[in-house]
Symmetry: D2
Subunit: 337 residues, 4 copies
């Protein structure tokens, strides 16, 4: 932590800050600059909010040096973490593709989508049973019935099943059926839910909040890790910006940057990240090229009939073609699919 | 709904869309333009996602005409709604100020802050017992113990008590102690929680999500209203932008715009909206000038000792001065404080 | 400047950075932390880009301590600067309102608007002769003819005249007719133009770039000041964010924050900042309440007939009412209008 | 254009709008909906601002159907445009890489960088002689001297030379030396400059404004095209968002989206788009994977000694490696490099 004092801060103010710094067990080094006095604080106290220091009289700004997350950090664990979804390790050489409908709508439809995405090369099936809808009057998902269909689709295809959990009190029920729990973008800051999925053992796909910095994203992962569950995949899914040609701006630079910051696997959701099916193919390729460990893609037998998100959903034919096109691309960056 | 067909869309595609439109009970009017064919859909079907139409072959874009919220809309209810916090009606002539510490830290501190903000003119006490912290290692609040202190502060001062609820399973417990439930910015899209507070009768302060459009904000309110609880106050608390001189950008234009869209009372939180105590005074004045019905302000006896958010917290002295300065301003816009 | 070294940076890398620091005339103080080595650089070298240091091997990040602007800074000049527009001092107790049509359209219309805004209390007339239009096929302004009409309107009313200059080669011509030169939001980063207006003596209204931080805004002002022209007014006019209820998000917190950073007068443009005439009245009040020194407002006799920006333009009647309503508000914050 | 009337708009207001619509030569079709009246305007009048309609009494909103650009539109010209830089066609099968230092610093350095990037496979040399610097005290480029060195580097290597032009009065001078004129992000809205480069024949690289929508970007291109110069390359270079791990957010989805909207070639600048040399390699690959026609990359023999932007600059070694790695990637998407 570097504390910059205001110009003209008094001797008393400086002494007061120094005392506070030493009071929490840090070493204070006072530097008299030509235009500012600066107090360098040596030691590791990530849990004291920067804000605390900013509130002291005479302080202009406090600048943290260490990231506030630890377990998620590559400094603490330099080697890549591999997370198993079924038997497929995310974070290893092969890129894993998770595919399926936005929402589980009925059993037959789900099973037939599952079979086709498996044939095309998907390693896991996604499908929402509990749907977080902006509009209270819109279809909210089949709930437990949907979970049963997912479990049945797993029986039929062998694909592990990924589904979203919306609330702490549903965690146990969802974990009973699903292989992987997904935390959606609107719940990245739902810390009670993060703790709940951190206290059970199934892998978690954590989606980036649509207005989260990478530091906030990694702190959300830290909530899960610090509760004992280290099977976390991070998912870039688009951020909110002024751009209006897509629903969100898919920030692909987050992928190589996160790879530097953390050892956790990173996947990308080009369906929600763009909101347009015509952009899913190129952005999937882009994600692979920048180093993503996996993709999360919405696929439906008949996108036009999808109850939710039809406009961003690939048909099973389009998905098959995408999988074929991804292979040489993955190989060109030393991976495979 | 206006559906714009792509240039060169076929007769079959147009017929297909028209059939779909009529299939959901809307009337389709086909307009042959010089460069585009357009299908105007007459009738009110707000619950069909725009996205559904975008997925149909040949469609360039679907443009909704009606807002998707109803109960929150001023079209449905033209007169202002007044929401009582204790005996004070928000949404009427007088502007109500809610004040208190970010977090409840101990009983004596809380009561003494409560007494001072009451003397200065606050009409309700705020204080967090459950704190949503970005950092998992930071202080998470006193929880039920904090709620007890809040209830005690109410006994001592008569001020109704506002506190945040983080999770559906806490709603009952929090509602037992508090007079008003607050939904924080990170939970505006936590629809399970919105439903839960919509199913109990105490008033709710709903904070705008930091990346929510006004339509999304009003749809979140609609979740609560549609479950039967019509005592909702909307709170603008800053949005996430590229600006870095404040923690968030407090969007004061949201206040008069929301006043046009909705009958619900609107309050403003200049403490979180700026993150800097030196900006709380001017931005409180700005909020009153643009037509806010209330303010939500962080106050502490000793901001430097606040466990959370000290940098944005007013001292009780500063708060007293602010309340005095707000009065002529409120009167200048035909209100009072 | 604080330079944070990467974890595990070598002795050689540290020595290399220290040598570079000393090479530019700064004093380097090396601090060995538990997790990072930090080099504090003492002295004032604002002209060396932070980027230079970031490029050195072993450096994790360089954090500047001093703002890069000087002449615009309140540290360098603590007292408010007053800038005269005609005889009216902006930056003093009275708030000045500049009003007029977006574009000069014809002589009679301009003169009649000028007379009415003067009667209502405006202290200067605005009107565009050169219009920066997003659409190349849209009306681009009357150019020199428009400037002549502005000069004539000044003769008739005594109001000083503000108009935009788009290009360095027009500066001389525009300055011949106008009393105040305006730099638009799209030209805040047009440094050749900034230098050109800095080399002539007439006051300059510098609009904030729609994606400029306050530091970048003040550096743009510094371009003008450093060329010798100290008559600069800063104008907040809305920034680009994800919000879609307004054309831009008017960031009123920029006003009190700029007041802390700089001695220059700050004005606000609620017309462009919102894009909606129904929001101009409340946001003008908000601007006065947060401490603005002036307002820049689009007014037309018949907004419906305005060639540009009709939707955000007040009628002369609405403007008159606004001026009346602003007076008690200005007085409530210790100013006048 | 679709004009939506406010609920409760009067017969007179509707008639008034219809008359205005017909007055500009459009056909008006009035649709009586259950909750709104809507006026569909048939015909093509892109040059009338939407804003004009929004200003009419009783109008809730006007929604344009046609994009306001024409010459840049793929509807008008369905086939890809190829732009020659020297002999290399951008927009054809091969992906072209333009490389060189941010700023021209001295002759020998420039020539030696030029030789190395040519060896590595670059098809054009970039280098700034006029530098738009945020900080007025920073190095502003060698100006005409820099242009001379660029011309000399072209003589020595055969590489066509790309350099930025900052002001209309420099266009002639810069065009005398350079093969390609670059318009920087801060000048995308400098319409006088756009017209000036549109009136000369050399190809133009137009960088996207850091806060420009794709429509605004294409309208800026339209300024150039409509003046007679059809040799325009569009360059995505990052947009301003809340993200802080990169200087800007490189929006790769803009590439395939622009490909749908326009026939012009699209290139990507990963150096400015990220501001970090460690992200240039992966983001270059991402750009190729999503379909970019070219890349613009900052390369220096000794990035540490670069006077500007060292932190985002590749060494010639790193560039050589990148070029080698791009080849299989380009081939994987059916292109070459």
């Amino acid at each position: 932590m570097i504390i910059v004092m205001k110009p003209g801060s008094s001797r008393e103010e400086i002494d007061h800050v120094v005392k506070k710094v030493e009071g929490v067990g840090l070493k204070a080094v006072l530097l008299h600059g030509t235009e500012r006095n600066v107090i360098a604080c040596l030691g590791d106290k990530r849990d004291i909010a920067q804000d605390f220091w900013n509130a002291l009289p005479g302080v202009e700004k406090a600048m943290p040096i260490l990231s506030p997350y630890k377990m998620a950090s590559r400094e603490v664990k330099p080697t890549n973490t591999e997370v198993l979804l079924g038997k497929f390790p995310f974070g290893a050489k092969k890129i894993g593709v998770i595919a399926g409908p936005c929402a589980v709508e009925n059993k037959n439809q789900l099973i037939s989508i599952a079979q086709r995405v498996k044939e095309a090369g998907a390693v896991a099936l996604r499908g929402g049973a509990f749907k977080p809808r902006t509009n209270p009057y819109a279809f909210q998902g089949l709930m437990e019935e949907g979970l049963e269909y997912l479990a049945e689709a797993r029986e039929k295809t062998g694909l592990p099943v990924v589904t979203e959990v919306l609330s702490p009190e549903h965690v146990q029920m969802v974990a009973k059926y699903a292989d992987v729990l997904q935390i959606g973008t609107r719940n990245m800051g739902n810390f009670v839910l993060l703790k709940a999925v951190g206290e059970q053992p199934k892998p978690v796909i954590l989606k980036r909040g649509m207005s989260a910095t990478l530091e906030e994203f990694l702190l959300a992962a830290e909530y899960i890790l610090s509760r004992g569950n280290t099977n976390v995949l991070l998912c870039e899914r688009g951020i909110r910006t002024f751009e209006n040609h897509t629903r969100f701006t898919l920030s692909l630079s987050a992928v190589p940057q996160l790879k530097q910051f953390t050892h956790l696997p990173i996947i990308v959701d080009p369906s929600h990240g763009t909101g347009k099916s015509s952009l899913v193919n190129p952005m999937s390729k882009g994600a692979v090229a920048v180093g993503a460990d996996g993709l999360l893609i919405e696929v439906h037998i008949d996108p036009e009939k999808a109850l939710i998100d039809g406009a961003q959903t690939l048909s099973t034919e389009e998905f098959k073609r995408l999988m074929k096109e991804l292979k040489p691309l993955a190989q060109a960056v030393g991976r495979d699919v």
